[in-house]
Amino acid sequence: MFENAEPFAWLILLPPLVAAGIIAMFTRHSRRLSAQISISAVIISFVTTVILFGILRASGADSLRPTSINWLWIGDLAVDISLKLDHLSLAMALVVTGVGGLIHIYSAGYMRGDRAYGRYFACLSLFMFSMLGIVLADNFVMMFIFWELVGVSSYLLIGFWYEKEAAGDACKKAFLCNRIGDAGFLLGILLVWSMFGSVSFAEVKPAVAAYLAAHGGTTTMLFLAGLLIFCGAVGKSAQFPLHVWLPDAMEGPTPVSALIHAATMVAAGVYMLCRVYFLLEPSGALPVIAWVGGFTALLAAVIAVQQNDIKRILAYSTLSQLGYMVMAVGVGGPAAAMFHLTTHAFFKALLFLGAGSVIHALHHEQNIWRMGALKNKMPVTYWTFMAGTLALCGFPPLSGFYSKDGILSAALNSHQIGLFILGVVVAMLTTFYMFRLALVVFYGGEKSDAAGHAHESPRIMIWPLRVLAVLSIIGGFIGIGTLYASEFNAEGAVPSMGFAAQLLEPFSASPLGALFGLFAVILGFSMTFACYRGRVTDPLPEKLGWLSRAMRNRFYFDEFYERILIPCTQEAAAKLADAFDRWIIFGIVRLSAGCTDLFGRALRQVQSGSLQGYAFTLVLGVAIVLYFVLVK
């Protein structure tokens, strides 16, 4: 009875677009209706995804038949808007619509007082549409199309409070950083197309195998293609050196930070890398990817230690975790990357929403040193936030422990000890800064008046927290890991395990990784406890000195880009071009016009109207002619 379920897949992609269109055109001013339309759309998408995912699991096939419409077809360039329905895309769509749906509901409470409630939901729906497009894309160009749309919806949402200077600057910066990565991505797509004659994943995959067989291994061109496509992920997933936009993106409303800049959009880069893993693996670009990811993870974790804005700490934590995922892809563990992406979506969305709940209760106070003692005033927020913190740190048996272990053991399996040690250090730092945050915000004395008057958030904001907390706790042992593992395992399906076996899987599969991970968590926790218990101010700046200052100032990357790199390259070239245009090209045009004008003026002198002058010229002419005729 489910043979022809594929066309229903459009019900995943299209409802958010329709909702965005309706809200933007008609119901923008009706607050309640706009929220309802937007939330209904995401629920329709979610339910359809669940049904299709069920059908796919029941059928036991690799994927459902793609359903497609032709978008552009010229010669040997064929681009379809076509939905890929395999385990990977549907599982990712579940995460996006599930977490996204909860954040939609939360937003309805969080944004209640805002002037542009309708615009907010229109943008949110546009974002859902674009993100689902990336997830379901079955060719490079379609992925690029939605890739760009995600960029612009993120621009609109970061700049939601556009009247603030900081928000206006932040959305511009985010869009431009993304665009730099996209330029590389598009070049990579062009290169792939010219090498393999197609942009469709399904057609490129065998072509890559044939290419490798023909060339006896990787080539420079293939390496270049892999690297250029990775550029796209560097922009979207905010990897070094384009990591600077993500912390600034926190200028957007907090639910947006949770949805776009933690759970989904920034994870799109990782998803894309996993999607085109068949191309990256033989291209030889994996070591580059691994080290870029590892470096980003470390850099961001170090910076996070000395941030004081609750959202910025979480933003750097996101950066660091994204680096982790990218590193996982680089060490040959796309399944581990996807697993961590999923659990990270649960707990990071939870943490951001929890932070939003705190910020909401404190009337938009974001400095953690002006909070404190919120444990009893906001019990639900406190408990769920702690669940998210423990999951992020990788405390067994919470979800983060399992997914992080997957990455560490993938690093071990690929025999890259350097990256393994780096991963353990990052895990320790993560525990350190997260417990610093939790201790300062929820324990100790009230550090400001606002913290004294705080009270729990409304129910519509609390329930999404509870659901996400449950998912963060159980996400590690409900079969998500095995689902991804069987998707990327060449030998076929991974045997499904019993509940107890899943619970203990890390210790049996890779005891070294699990023990080191556990050790890092315990070490990080004890260090935080020693440093921050009962503190009213941060003791680290005194102890670390200039290092702390550098960490607080993000190692001066933004300053370096804004004052040195950009002015010396692109801006300098633009200045040069402008000067050349203004003085040389325009000058030549003016000069030639001027010469013509001068010539005309000179000739006008001859036409004086004086008869004597004419007679004189005439005689002179005759004399000259006579001279030539007679004398010569």
């Binding site: 621009y155 511009k172 431009l176 730099i180 290169l191 004659g197 197609s198 245009d581």
Partner: protein, 510 residues
């Protein structure tokens, strides 16, 4: 009579009738202009809708001999190359005549010139006779100069009129020399483009003739299209032109040169095109990269849009230089998309200037709060301008990149950088400067017009961009066969799939 004759004829007849209306009847004149351009737009949509994608040759043809001895005749018709252009021209003309509400002096002359310009533009695109092709272009060009001179804006008005007149006349003159040389050297003794093409296909022009005529057409038309380094007239002229004129010229009339290259130079002189391809590709980089960077430095919105419009022309040149099915089809797509976009952006900047009295970006700010509708449309136009999917420009630009990639790796890479990054830099800077940020006190009083008719021109143009952005197939399926006909036979069959699967897929599609 062909529907095309009505499309060309209505505006010209209306212009003549307006001469007879007393100059106090301002409302009547506005009404006539709007209604006539609306009818023309409806006819153009009908023409486009009923266009048969699979038909060979030209459609809606009409032929009337005029000077038999020279082979001149009135001959109109459409194929995939000009169907979209005529539709675009008609839509822009309608939007421009609506925007002309802002003209408050000498309305009579203005509307007459506007209608003449509209008729001329549409005639130039519909003509299949070299004589009328050129004649209609001049018919549209001359009103442009007068309109800038009389109704222009800013203190540079006179100098702008002076420069644009001289520059464009020079370009038109050079291309005229080229066209006449073509007529003489072909030996076909006809101005009819169809007959001429068939004749030249049978008896190709000698290499020497091609090498002499092609540069004349390239640079003659190139001046009209603001090919680098002949681009300085464009930002200057558009900065000073009244809004409707800037819309019609930047959007539609400027495409005449490109259309001439596609319709005449490419099919008749394939050898010369191949020789000059590298030169064109490097010159187009002057447009795309260099003018893009100059646009980054502009402090006035109109100049910024002007330079960005020059930069966009580079994509068309890149597509032409690639000289294959994908590239040239993409070039035509960009022409049409840019027509809508340029008209939209100039309409918006005109509105902004009417509201605030300035277009200096540094003086504006925070206006999205006061101008929610126009601000939103401006943001969308800016994103369309930096190639956001969903708008027609993306479809065109990405097609051009695919077409040019195999031939010009380096140039395409730089063009991609410019399209994605440099374009985004100046567009987001403009949004940041004009619409975002705190609202200065002096703009507190700015109010958006609530009259629905004021929104129509923006909505019509925006809808067109979105429709062709979502469904580029509407244009591509018409353009593709026409482009295949103008390309030399071997490169027309561009289908060289690398793998068996693609071959099978391509077969299946056919």
């Amino acid at each position: 009579m062909s529907i095309l004759t009505y499309i060309i004829g209505w505006p010209l007849v209306a212009a003549f009738l307006l001469c007879l209306v007393p100059r106090d009847y301002k409302f009547v004149m506005r009404l006539v202009a709007v209604v006539v351009t609306f009818i023309v737009m409806v006819l153009a949509v009908k023409m486009f809708w009923q266009f048969d994608n699979n038909a060979e040759g030209f459609q809606y043809e009409q032929h009337a001999t005029w000077v038999r001895s020279l082979g001149i005749g009135y001959h109109v018709g459409v194929d995939g190359l000009n169907a979209g252009l005529i539709l675009m021209g008609a839509v822009v003309a309608f939007a421009a005549s609506l925007v002309s509400w802002e003209i408050r002096e000498r309305e009579k002359e203005f509307y007459i010139l506007l209608l003449v310009m509209t008729g001329g533009i549409l005639g130039a695109f519909a003509s299949l006779d070299l004589f009328f092709f050129y004649f209609f272009h001049e018919l549209a060009l001359v009103p442009t100069f007068i309109m800038i001179g009389v109704w222009g804006r800013g203190e540079n008005k006179n100098y702008a009129t002076f420069q644009i007149t001289l520059y464009l006349s020079l370009g038109a003159l050079i291309s005229l020399v080229g066209l006449i040389a073509l007529y003489l050297r072909s030996g076909a003794n006809t101005f009819d483009i169809v007959e001429l093409t068939n004749h030249v296909r049978q008896n190709p022009l000698s290499t020497a003739d091609q090498g002499f005529i092609f540069p004349l057409l390239l640079f003659g038309f190139g001046i009209l299209i603001s090919l680098w380094p002949f681009h300085t007239w464009a930002p200057l002229g558009y900065g000073s032109a009244p809004t409707p004129t800037a819309m019609l010229h930047a959007g539609v009339l400027k495409k005449f040169g490109l259309y001439g290259l596609l319709r005449i130079a490419l099919p008749l002189m394939p050898g010369a095109v191949a020789q000059w391809a590298h030169v064109i590709a490097w010159l187009c980089l002057g447009n795309i990269l260099y003018c893009g960077m100059v646009a980054m430095r502009q402090k006035n919105l109109n100049w910024l849009i002007g330079y960005s419009s020059v930069a966009h022309m580079g994509f068309v040149f890149l597509g032409i230089a690639s000289f294959n099915l994908i590239g040239v089809t993409g070039a035509v797509l960009v022409m049409i998309a840019h027509g809508f976009l340029a008209a939209l952006t100039f309409a918006l900047s005109g509105y902004l200037e009417k509201q605030t009295g300035t277009l200096e970006i540094a003086q504006l700010g925070g206006l999205l709060r006061r101008l929610p509708f126009v601000g939103c449309v401006l943001i969308m136009a800016m994103f369309a301008g930096c190639g956001l999917p969903g708008f027609a420009n993306f479809a065109g630009e990405v097609t051009v990149f695919f077409g040019a990639w195999k031939k010009f790796n380096l140039i395409t890479s730089l063009a991609v950088w410019s399209a994605l990054v440099i374009g985004a830099v100046y567009m987001t800077r403009a949004i940041r400067g004009i619409l975002h940020g705190p609202l200065p006190d002096k703009w507190m009083a700015v109010v958006e017009s609530t009259w629905p008719l004021r929104k129509v021109p923006y909505l019509v143009l925006l809808t067109s961009l979105l429709v062709f952005g979502f469904f580029p197939g509407l244009l591509v399926d018409k353009i593709k066969p026409a482009v295949a006909r103008i390309l030399p036979v071997q490169s027309a069959s561009a289908a060289r799939p690398a793998t068996g699967t693609t071959m099978a897929l391509a077969d299946q599609r056919r």
